[in-house]
């Protein structure tokens, strides 16, 4: 009988490139010859390393050999926090609270005058990359003033060169002044690179909601996934929330759900059609699927399962929940429309989701502004696995799903740690310690980077320390009825140097230290 392993090396390599990491490893372990072939093929090594790192490739013209080297350098630099260059970016204006960091750019809200509180425009800055020369490149802040009240801005830079802006305008209906004023919310779609109306959007202003103006304003969270854009609107005065799905290319908008005020403060996409919503009153995570029953754009939101969180004590209130996973799934989008210099792109399917909880213990509240900050991390994949069982909605008690797949961190009395949510990229996240100066801490949840062995910190060549945490950790706080045990292993690197930043953010190629002026 013919042995497949006797095929010419070229054909074997071609076949093996079609396998994923697990199959390739099993194959490599079958015999010496195959082991040698896999070890000896730069292409197979490269494909293996891409999967280990959880990234996809955008190098285009570079040779496989060069790409493999670049990938190894990148992974090593992150693992050791080997900072290759430092750039300083001044913010020559007073930003509003709106910000975003994605696709290698940072965006801040701007105001019409320093006396104004409202956001009426935004400015963005393409952040410098290491391949740039050591001289700080002079990317300017690009200003876009809409002269309209901006509720929030969402970015889909990498996939569609898209900036989505939700604007609010209050108008006095001319036919009846007794009815009061109406607030009109519109979604405006711009091209990130040109600032002009987006060329792929059939209509560049999409009406989202129109309601009686009751004051109090609204807030919104915008996430862009492929051709879809989800908006979670919170109306402060009406005490109602809305979740709207928009097909931004065709200009369709459809309300998926209306809910009680602040029931859902945040959400994140797990895949292009599955979302996670922290449900605040129930203190759970809801995993929901968007389904399209007809050809018309009338999507339905279906709750697939409900994950309970560790039970809260009697006298506690959740003040705020944020969650985020970066990068977003790209859906069935074609290749990026923008010229992207970054060679590697974190794969959305491997990314972690970060959940930040700010909780107040009401027993002490009036006297002390005592806020408890907790954060936990879980892989998108781990949550998606729970949605794969069909049939009815499944309710998972915390003990049944949480401890093995999550890792909790206690930022007790340090709510500032959770002020910014853009602290993760792929499977890594950045953190700091309280106080005016802090080391930079990078945590990596990539299971392939967890080497067996002791948890003893190891001192690296650059003086930084690294350790692997595989043991369960326990958080024993008065906020929860029981200690929280969590097991998700991770690698943690801590810089020797201390930095005086007010906040730390990260994206897939850099750590961003923020210095905030008191206002």
């Amino acid at each position: 009988m013919g042995s497949l392993s006797r095929l010419p090396v070229e054909l074997l390599v071609k076949t093996l490139t079609l396998l994923d990491l697990l199959d390739l490893t099993a194959c490599e372990l079958s015999c010496r010859r195959l082991h040698k072939i896999v070890e000896g093929s730069v292409l197979l090594q490269y494909l293996k390393h891409l999967q280990i790192a959880g990234v996809s490739d955008r190098c285009g013209s570079l040779s496989v050999d060069k790409r493999l080297q670049a990938l190894r350098r990148r992974e090593e630099a992150w693992s050791e926090i080997d900072i290759r260059a430092t750039f300083k970016v001044q913010v020559p204006f007073r930003p509003t609270g709106i910000y975003d960091l994605t696709g290698g750019a940072i965006l801040l809200g701007t105001r019409s005058s320093i006396f104004s509180r409202a956001t009426t425009g935004y400015a963005y800055h393409v952040l410098p990359s290491v391949p740039d020369s050591v001289v700080p490149p002079s990317y300017p802040w690009l200003h876009h003033d809409l002269e309209l009240n901006i509720v929030d801005v969402g970015l889909g830079v990498d996939t569609h060169d898209l900036v989505a802006v939700l604007t609010s305008s209050v108008t006095n209906p001319f036919y009846s002044t007794n009815d009061g004023e109406t607030e009109q919310l519109d979604l405006r779609l711009f091209s990130f690179s040109t600032g002009k109306p987006h060329p792929l959007a059939g209509q560049h202003v999409i009406p989202i909601a129109s309601r009686l103006w009751a004051g109090g304003g609204c807030s919104v969270l915008i996430e862009i996934v492929g051709d879809h854009l989800a908006l979670l609107l919170t109306f402060n005065a009406d005490r109602t929330d809305m979740l709207v799905l928009v097909d931004w290319k065709h200009g369709h908008a459809h309300t998926l759900r209306e809910s009680n005020y602040a029931s859902y403060m945040h959400f994140a996409f797990l895949s292009e059609d599955t979302l996670v919503f922290p449900n605040v009153p129930d203190h759970t995570l809801e995993l929901c699927k968007i389904v399209f029953p007809t050809q018309e754009f009338q999507p339905i939101l279906q709750t697939v399962c409900v994950l309970e969180l560790p039970a809260l004590g009697e006298y506690t209130t959740v003040i705020r929940v944020d969650c985020r996973a970066e990068p977003n799934p790209i859906g069935c989008s074609p290749a990026p429309t923008r010229n992207i210099s970054r060679p590697f792109h974190d794969s959305p399917a491997d990314a972690i989701v970060i959940f930040n909880y700010l909780i107040r213990d009401v027993r002490r509240a009036p006297l002390f502004e005592e806020l408890y900050a907790f954060s936990f991390t879980v892989h998108r994949r781990a949550l998606l696995t729970l949605t794969s069982i069909p049939s009815t909605v499944i309710d998972y008690p915390w003990e049944h799903w949480g401890p093995p797949v999550t890792r909790w961190f206690d930022f007790h009395m340090f709510p500032e740690a959770l002020r910014w949510i853009t602290t993760s990229a792929g499977q890594r996240c950045v953190a700091r310690t309280p106080g005016p100066s802090s080391p930079i801490i990078v945590r990596d949840f990539n299971p392939h980077h967890i080497r067996s062995g002791g948890e003893e910190p190891e001192t690296l060549k650059n003086g930084n320390t690294r350790r692997v945490i595989t043991q369960p950790s326990m958080i024993d706080s008065t906020v929860f009825t029981q200690p929280i045990i969590s097991n998700l292993p991770y690698t943690e690197t801590i810089t020797q140097e201390r930095y005086q930043y007010d906040g730390l953010l990260m994206d897939e190629e850099r750590i961003i230290g923020l210095r905030v002026c008191a206002t």
């Binding site: 009988m1 042995s3 497949l4 392993s5 010419p8 079609l18 099993a26 194959c27 015999c31």
Partner: protein, 173 residues
């Protein structure tokens, strides 16, 4: 390299609009096939170019059996006149060959046969067929344990017990 023997053009029957080629398999079967059917094969195209230079027609000797050759001819006949990106010598090779349903059915053969087809396709330089065969082999291996893979690949575990425990650490990069 196969040796080239001259043949008398008159032995080739049915001269039609497309010129005819005489392929000779390793079991010495003579198979006549229209030239444009086989133009997908870079190897045969290069042979034909050679004929034109010397203005002499030759039989092309191939180092595999008529059974395999007929299978390859069946593939080429099916895609006669079709443009497949992988077979375009001037196009940049695509990262991965697309899945073609007809090919999946066509290659639903035993392991031995699949092996012989991919070798023949490789020899004849038919990239689309090599790609589809590689995919079929990958599908056979996918999701199997190392032990099952040894069975499919027809290999023996030749690692020493010590080695068997060490290479696994390599997969964590």
């Amino acid at each position: 390299m196969p040796t080239i023997v001259s043949v008398d053009d008159s032995t080739v029957p049915g001269e039609g609009s497309s010129r005819l080629l005489l392929l000779v398999s390793s079991d010495n079967k003579h198979i006549v096939v229209e030239e444009d059917i086989m133009s997908r094969s870079r190897f045969i195209s290069k042979q034909v170019e050679g004929f034109e230079a010397t203005s002499q027609r030759h039989a092309i000797l191939l180092p595999f059996s008529s059974f395999v050759l007929n299978k390859v001819i069946e593939y080429c006949s099916h895609y006669r006149g079709y443009y497949l990106l992988e077979d375009d010598p001037d196009a940049a090779p695509p990262g991965r060959s697309p899945v073609r349903e007809w090919d999946q059915e066509f290659l639903d053969v035993d392991r031995n046969m699949l092996l012989r087809i991919i070798k023949a396709a490789h020899y004849l330089e038919i990239k689309s067929l090599v790609g589809s065969c590689a995919r079929a082999i990958a599908d056979m291996i996918r999701g199997k344990t190392t032990e099952e893979m040894r069975e499919i690949l027809g290999v023996e575990n030749d690692f020493t017990p010590e080695e068997e425990h060490s290479p696994s650490s390599k997969c964590t990069g």
